[in-house]
C-alpha cells in the first residue's frame, strides 16, 4: 500500500467546471449595487514635472462623481520594503509614458473616459533616458532623486578566486549578449473592485474589501494598509479566479491602490479594469538585459572561472528590481559546478514602464548568455554541446560556491533524455538549411528562503475543518492563478486522509478567512503551501487515528485510512459495493455498519451503541468518533524555510 491513490494522477482541476461554463467569476465579472467605474489618466510624457492639474471641467460632466489625484493618497509604497518609490497617482512628476496622473470615477466607463479629456494638466518636460548605459551617465534630473546616476541597485560579488581561475584556464572567451524586454501578456487584463463598509459603531466608513486579479493578496493587503493608513485587519483582500499571472500580478499594480483610494473618495464601490494598452504600461515584465560574459575553461571543457557584468533596463520604478538583479548573479552558480565566480550587476532606472518579476525571475536572460557562450566554447574545443554540459555537472546534494543548497537536480537525466529523444547523435548537423538541433539548460529555486517582508514566521499556513458527515473544508491562502494550486492542496489533503476528492472543498486566498500564504511566485506554492497542507492533514489524521485506534482496540500505528475507509491492519477489508462507491462521489454518504445515525440539518448526529471492538469503519464514523473523543476536529499546518537556508 505504498502507492498513492490521489496524488500523481491526472484529475480535472476542481474549479474547471466554472471555467468551461462561464460561471466562474474573475475580478471584472464582479459588480456591486451602486458600483462606479474608474478610468485612469496616463502621462503623455516620459519624464516631466506636473506644474498644475485642474479637474474642474471634468467634474462638471454629468455622471462624474469625483476625480482623484496624487495628493489624495501621497504615501509611498512598492513591492519591496527597500523600493518604496511609487504613489497611487503621480504626486510631483511623471516618469514614463503611461504613468498614472489622475483617476475619474463615474457612473459608466464611457462617461469616465470622456471626462479624462477634460482634465487639464500642465507639464514641464525633463530630460528622459531610454537606454540604461546612457541613463547611468546622468549627472542631473535623476528619475528618483534618492537614486544617484539612476542606479537603483548594484551588486559586486566575488566567490572563490576568479582571477586565479582565469589564469588556470586553457581557453578564455568574452562576449556581449543582449536580451530584449518581454511582457507577461496574461489573457486577463488586471481588474480591481474596492468597497468600504460603514462601521456600525462609528457610523463612518470602516472596513475595506478588495477583489483583485492578484498573485499576492497578502502583500496587497499590506501595501493598501500603508497607503490608506488603515490597519491590515480592517482590509480584506479576496482573490477571485485569476486569468493568468506569469509574474505580472505578483506585485501591487497601480490600479489596485487607485481603486481603493477612489472608492474612499467617491464613497461608493469602484471598479477599475485595465485596457490591454494599460496592461502594457503597468508592465513589470522581464527587463532588457545587457550581459558582458567571460568564461574560462580547461581543454576538456571544465569551467574554471566565470565573470559577468549585467545591466538591466529597469524602467521607471524599483518594482522587484533589487531582487531581479540579485538573482541574475546568484543563479549563475547553481546549474553547473563552478568554483570561481565574479558578478557585477546594475539595475538601472529609465523612463519606461517598470520591469518586475516574470517567469524564471532574473535568471532567464543571463542563462541565455551563459548557454550561448558554452555552445561557442564547445565549438571551439570541438566538444559535443551535450558532453560539455555533462562534464560540468554538480553532484547533489551539495552547496554551491555561492551557498545555494542543491537538494534535487535531475539535470544529468534530463540531458540524457533530450539526447535520446531528439536523436541528437544522428540528426544534429544533418538537418536541412534553416533547421537545427540545440541544447540549453536552465534551473530555478523552488521557493525563496526569505519572504519579501522579512520575518521568521511561516510562509504558508493551512487550516482544515472536518464536518460530522466527513466533509472537509481546506482553508489555504495559496493563490490559484490557473496553475492549479487549489486542486494541488485538495489532492494532498485527500491523499493523507485517504478520502475521495469529492469530499473536499477548498476556500482559498481570502485574507479574512484563510491563514497567510505569501503568494504565487518564486515557484514556491506546491513546495511550501503543499507542505503546510500536508502537515495540516497529518495533524487531523493523527486525531482521527487516535480515536479510531481506541475504538478498534489497536495501536495507532496499525490504523490505515484509504478509499474513504478506516481499518485495522490485517482486517479483512471488503471493497464497498459499487453503488456505495458511487455515493462517495456525492457530498453525503450514508452511515452504515453498526453506527446509528440520523440526519440533522444535513449533518449526522451520531449515537453510539455499546459494542465490542470492530476492525473497520467508514471515514465518517471515524470522524464522528474523533469528535466524540476530543470535542472538535480541526487541524493546522505551516511551512517555514529552515533557519540554515535563510
Amino acid at each position: 500500500m505504498s502507492d498513492f491513490s490521489i496524488i500523481g494522477k491526472a484529475v480535472a482541476l476542481i474549479d474547471s467546471a466554472g471555467k468551461t461554463t462561464g460561471q466562474g467569476k474573475y475580478a471584472d465579472d464582479l459588480a456591486l449595487p451602486g458600483m462606479l467605474y474608474g478610468k485612469i489618466l496616463h502621462s503623455p510624457y516620459p519624464h516631466a514635472l506636473i506644474k498644475r492639474i485642474s479637474a474642474s471641467r471634468a467634474r462638471l460632466l454629468e455622471g462624474v462623481v469625483t476625480v482623484v489625484t496624487g495628493p489624495d493618497a501621497p504615501n509611498k509604497y512598492g513591492i519591496l520594503p527597500v523600493g518604496h518609490d511609487e504613489t497611487a497617482l503621480a504626486v510631483e512628476k511623471v516618469r514614463y509614458v503611461g504613468d498614472n496622473v489622475a483617476c475619474v470615477v463615474a457612473t459608466s466607463e464611457a462617461i469616465a473616459e470622456r471626462a479624462l479629456e477634460l482634465i487639464d494638466v500642465e507639464y514641464e518636460a525633463l530630460p528622459a533616458w531610454f537606454d540604461p548605459e546612457d541613463s547611468m551617465k546622468a549627472t542631473a534630473d535623476w528619475i528618483h532623486s534618492q537614486r544617484p546616476n539612476n542606479i537603483e541597485k548594484d551588486y559586486h560579488h566575488v566567490f572563490g578566486d576568479p582571477d586565479k581561475g582565469f589564469a588556470e584556464a586553457d581557453y578564455v572567451t568574452e562576449h556581449r549578449y543582449i536580451a530584449a524586454e518581454v511582457t507577461h501578456a496574461a489573457m486577463e487584463p488586471h481588474s480591481t473592485l474596492a468597497s468600504f463598509e460603514i462601521d456600525s459603531l462609528t457610523g463612518q466608513p470602516g472596513r475595506l474589501t478588495v477583489w483583485s486579479s492578484t498573485q499576492v493578496p497578502y502583500y496587497l493587503q499590506h501595501k493598501l494598509s500603508i497607503v490608506l493608513e488603515m490597519p491590515m485587519s480592517q482590509i480584506r483582500v479576496i482573490k477571485p479566479l485569476v486569468g493568468g499571472g506569469f509574474g505580472g500580478k505578483s506585485e501591487v499594480i497601480p490600479l489596485e491602490i487607485i481603486a481603493a483610494v477612489a472608492a474612499r473618495k467617491a464613497k461608493a464601490p469602484v471598479k477599475i479594469t485595465y485596457s490591454r494598452e494599460e496592461v502594457f504600461w503597468a508592465h513589470r515584465g522581464r527587463p532588457r538585459t545587457i550581459i558582458d560574459l567571460k568564461t574560462g575553461v580547461k581543454n576538456d571543457g571544465r569551467i574554471t572561472s566565470v565573470a559577468a557584468k549585467v545591466i538591466q533596463d529597469g524602467g521607471a520604478y524599483c518594482s522587484y528590481g533589487v531582487v531581479t538583479i540579485l538573482y541574475s548573479g546568484a543563479l549563475l552558480g547553481a546549474l553547473y559546478d563552478i568554483s570561481n565566480i565574479k558578478y557585477d550587476g546594475y539595475r538601472v532606472l529609465t523612463n519606461k514602464p517598470a520591469c518586475g518579476a516574470m517567469r524564471g525571475h532574473g535568471t532567464v536572460n543571463v542563462r541565455f548568455a551563459f548557454e550561448s557562450q558554452l555552445d561557442e566554447i564547445a565549438v571551439h574545443l570541438k566538444i559535443d554541446p551535450a558532453e560539455i554540459r555533462r562534464r560540468n555537472l554538480l553532484k547533489p546534494p551539495c552547496v554551491t560556491i555561492n551557498n545555494l543548497r542543491v537538494q534535487s537536480y535531475g539535470l544529468p537525466e534530463c540531458i540524457e533524455k533530450v539526447v535520446e529523444r531528439s536523436q541528437w547523435n544522428t540528426r544534429r548537423g544533418k538537418l536541412p538549411p534553416g533547421r537545427g538541433l540545440g541544447l540549453g539548460c536552465s534551473h530555478y529555486v523552488s521557493g525563496a528562503a526569505n519572504s519579501i517582508i522579512r520575518s521568521d514566521m511561516p510562509h504558508s499556513t493551512v487550516n482544515l475543518k472536518i464536518d460530522r458527515d466527513g466533509g472537509v473544508v481546506v482553508y489555504t491562502g495559496a493563490s490559484d492563478i490557473g496553475q492549479g494550486s487549489d486542486t494541488m492542496v485538495a489532492q494532498i489533503v485527500a491523499e493523507v486522509l485517504g478520502i475521495s476528492l469529492a469530499r473536499i472543498k477548498v476556500v482559498a486566498a481570502d485574507t479574512d478567512l484563510t491563514p497567510i500564504d505569501i503568494g504565487s511566485y518564486s515557484s514556491r506554492v506546491t513546495f511550501m503551501n503543499g507542505n503546510a497542507a500536508l502537515r495540516a492533514a497529518q495533524d487531523v489524521k493523527s486525531k482521527i487515528i487516535a480515536a479510531a485506534a481506541r475504538k478498534m482496540g489497536c495501536a495507532p500505528e496499525d490504523v490505515i485510512m484509504r478509499d474513504d475507509r478506516v481499518w485495522k491492519q490485517g482486517a479483512n477489508i471488503q471493497a464497498p459495493p459499487a453503488d456505495q462507491a458511487e455515493a462517495a462521489q456525492g457530498s453525503v454518504q450514508e452511515v452504515s455498519g453498526r453506527v446509528e445515525g440520523q440526519t440533522l440539518r444535513g449533518s449526522l448526529q451520531q449515537k453510539r451503541k455499546d459494542e465490542g471492538p470492530k476492525d473497520q469503519m467508514s471515514f465518517e464514523e471515524a470522524v464522528v468518533s474523533a469528535i466524540d473523543f476530543s470535542g472538535a476536529l480541526s487541524g493546522t499546518g505551516s511551512y517555514a524555510p529552515p533557519k540554515e537556508a535563510r
Binding site: A10, A12, L13, D15, S16, A17, G18, K19, T20, T21, G22, Q23, G24, K25, Y26, D28, D29, A31, A110, A185, A186, M187, E188, P189, L241, V242, G243, G244, F246, T273, S275, R276, E277, I481, G482, Q483, G484
Partner: protein, 164 residues
C-alpha cells in the same frame, strides 16, 4: 447619447433592452444581461476570448455593435454565449473533456474556445486534426499550449459518438 429599444435573443431567451447605438455586444452581454462568461482580453479582436455565436457563426463580440444583432424587420438572430452551451444543467461533452484533459488552466480564454469548438462540431461532427487547428486559430491561450485542447476535443468527439 439617446438610447434605443432593441430586442436580443440570447441562449434561447428574448430580452428587450434600451441601449446606446454605440454599445458593443460584449458590454451589453456582460453588463446589461450579466452574462459575464464572455471575456474581454485584448480590445482589438486579436484574442478571441469574447467569441459568441450569432446564428451559429463565431463572431467577436468586442468589435460588434449590439444593435446589429437585434431584429431589423426579419427574424431576430440567435446569440449563443458560453452560458448557453451546458447540456440541461450538466456539462456538455466538450466542457467535461476540457476539464478532464487540462484544456483549461487559468480559464480566461476558455469561454471563447467553448463556443468556437461548438460551432466547429455543429457544422462538422468529425473534424480532422487540421480542421480543428484551423477552427481554433482565432483563439489565443497563454497557459496550455493547445495540445491538451486538441486531446480534449478528440475525447469529446469520441464521447459524443459512443453516446449516439
Amino acid at each position: 447619447m439617446n438610447k434605443e429599444l432593441v430586442e436580443l435573443r440570447v441562449n434561447g431567451r428574448r430580452h428587450e433592452l434600451a441601449i446606446e447605438p454605440s454599445e458593443l455586444l460584449l458590454d451589453v452581454l456582460r453588463q446589461e444581461l450579466e452574462l459575464t462568461g464572455s471575456k474581454r482580453g485584448c480590445d482589438d479582436s486579436s484574442c478571441g476570448a469574447c467569441t459568441v455565436l450569432v446564428d451559429g457563426v463565431p463572431v467577436l463580440s468586442c468589435t460588434m455593435l449590439a444593435m446589429s444583432c437585434s431584429s431589423s424587420g426579419g427574424a431576430t438572430p440567435e446569440i449563443t454565449t458560453v452560458e448557453g452551451i451546458a447540456d440541461h444543467g450538466a456539462l456538455a461533452a466538450i466542457q467535461k473533456a476540457y476539464g478532464d484533459w487540462g484544456g483549461a488552466q487559468c480559464g480566461y480564454c476558455t469561454p471563447g474556445f467553448m463556443v468556437t469548438v461548438k460551432a466547429l462540431l455543429d457544422s462538422n461532427p468529425d473534424p480532422s486534426e487540421e480542421d480543428i487547428r484551423r477552427a481554433l486559430s482565432g483563439n489565443l491561450c497563454r497557459c496550455t499550449g493547445y495540445t491538451q485542447m486538441y486531446q480534449a476535443i478528440k475525447a469529446a468527439i469520441e464521447a459524443e459518438k459512443s453516446a449516439r
